[in-house]
Symmetry: C2
Subunit: 312 residues, 2 copies
């Protein structure tokens, strides 16, 4: 197996996770969780989305959250800015990176962003100089890159076309998303190997939902293709309000556990990440999709039972 | 990725799944589920364990279940026979295969079988001629082959020693089990590649629990090492009464979904397997660990939403 020695993980729970929660999470709880995440050793956190509060009321407190965060050196802070107006809201903060938002299929882009791909691309083009001037790195997302809930399979030519459009705009850090958790390991390995080969100038990251339990297998397949950057959401939070059935990002603690067990470094303290997942559990009114919270670490050895009574 | 074109799946829900259920499953429900499984296209089913009824009361109806089954041609029926007495109980049935039971660590073998490995091996030696005379194929299990809840890591030399002992007794079909779900993909690939290389005469199968969400990743890693036989339990049933925290085999329907999505044939009708998982859900008094039951198939496309109202 061809595997990297280190992997970069971005924590997306405070954005992709919280936005899927219907019940209001108090602003101070959001801040508490993000601050705890920033002390796990995770190198990057997507802290919020500057989305219209009518679209996602849960993230209406974006400014307040960012205004009160502990901004720790050594941690990169990213926000999702779905449009120019969202980007303008982010300009007063010392963000390292903003993500721009584009689905690779017309029907999902319309469902998620309420407009055609061409319209979204025109707005991203307007956003680029604004973000660059503010000193923000820009990451272009490729939502539903491995499959669409409305259109099904995505032709490779479409992925290449979208990649090409991003590159023309000077955006070479791209995030391929399996938004609805349909990707399989062979597809991930083949797709990413082809994209890496065709666009060697792109720095790719993968955003994988665990809807059909293939996320960790897809991580391994992607690493074998040469990918070393992945998103995770603490506690397995997440979903997409406009992608029916899109339950749960891969849990950061489950991802970190697998990578560490494989001898791949992440810089993250697994115990601390599990502790944050348990904090999240207290805040969220439903069970978490976290295997590590449920099962504990491999190294949590049990005492062997005493001699059993012989059954005769 | 080096991948096989077909994979053999054994369904173990009626044995490894049912035995983990505390609440009594009526005998006729067991029979109904096994009969439904036998019509999914799955080539092999582990239908019960001839274990002492005081040890696992849930399987006390082994004879009644086997007596009333539809024995379909084309399906292989296997029982677990943990000792000579269990084997003798199985002799009156037209089983294709019996599994014998051995943990690769002393402490787990004592917890699971109440005796030392050497004692278990002596009894297996007595069982071999009896099983052969009855026309049964014998599969030797290697429980906790990837890690033990009491001892932790298992040295490769121990796996090789157990394999050698089985081979000396003429047992060359072996089942390596990640009983407590601690194996990681690198370990599975390396371990199985080493064993395949060292013992080319052995036909290996893998039995993987999904305790830490690595089962499907481990399947892919094992296939890359050359393994093509896997166990699954419908609905993700399972656990081990003597392995604390050992929740859930990999769900057969999740395994089949991944393999089919990867273009690997199993002979199983996924829709029928999901339907059996839903039957199981009606019988079991707790939620199933089945991603496919929860999320549905990738090809269950959704209608795209109508034009959304523009948020201004």
């Amino acid at each position: 197996m061809r595997l990297p020695s280190t992997v970069h993980i971005m924590e997306v729970g405070p954005r992709d996770g919280f936005q899927a929660e219907k019940a209001w999470i108090p602003t101070e709880k959001k801040i508490e969780i993000i601050n705890a995440l920033s002390r796990t050793g995770v190198p990057e956190i997507q802290v919020t989305s500057f989305v219209h509060p009518k679209a996602i009321p849960q993230l209406a407190d974006a400014e307040e959250v960012l205004g009160k965060l502990d901004w720790l050196p050594g941690v990169k802070y990213r926000a999702l800015t779905p449009n120019l107006r969202g980007l303008q809201r982010g300009l007063s903060f010392k963000l390292d990176t903003v993500s721009v938002m584009l689905s690779v299929t017309e029907s999902h882009n319309r469902a998620n962003g309420n407009r055609a791909i061409a319209e979204t691309l025109r707005e991203i083009e307007q956003m680029v100089p604004v973000a660059r001037k503010a000193g923000f790195d820009i990451v272009g997302s490729m939502i539903c890159g491995f499959g669409c809930p409305f259109e099904g399979e995505v032709p490779p030519s479409q992925l290449e076309w979208v990649t090409g459009r991003y590159l023309e705009m000077g955006i070479s850090h791209l995030g391929m998303a399996d938004t609805i958790g349909v990707a399989n390991p062979r597809q991930v390995c083949d797709t990413m190997a082809r994209l890496l080969d065709k666009f060697p100038q792109v720095q790719w990251s993968l955003h994988l939902h665990n809807t059909r339990d293939m996320a960790l297998a897809n991580v391994v397949a992607a690493m074998q293709a040469g990918i070393t950057r992945f998103d995770g959401a603490v506690g397995g939070l997440g979903g997409c309000p406009y992608a029916p059935g899109a339950t749960g990002n891969v849990a950061t603690e489950d991802l970190v556990n697998m990578l560490h067990e494989m001898g791949i470094e992440t810089g993250i303290d697994l115990d601390k990440m599990i502790a944050v997942a348990k904090m999240v559990r207290e805040v969220i009114p439903h069970p978490l999709d976290s295997f590590m919270v449920r099962a504990g670490k491999r190294t949590d050895l049990k005492p062997a039972p005493k001699e059993q009574q012989k059954i005769t």
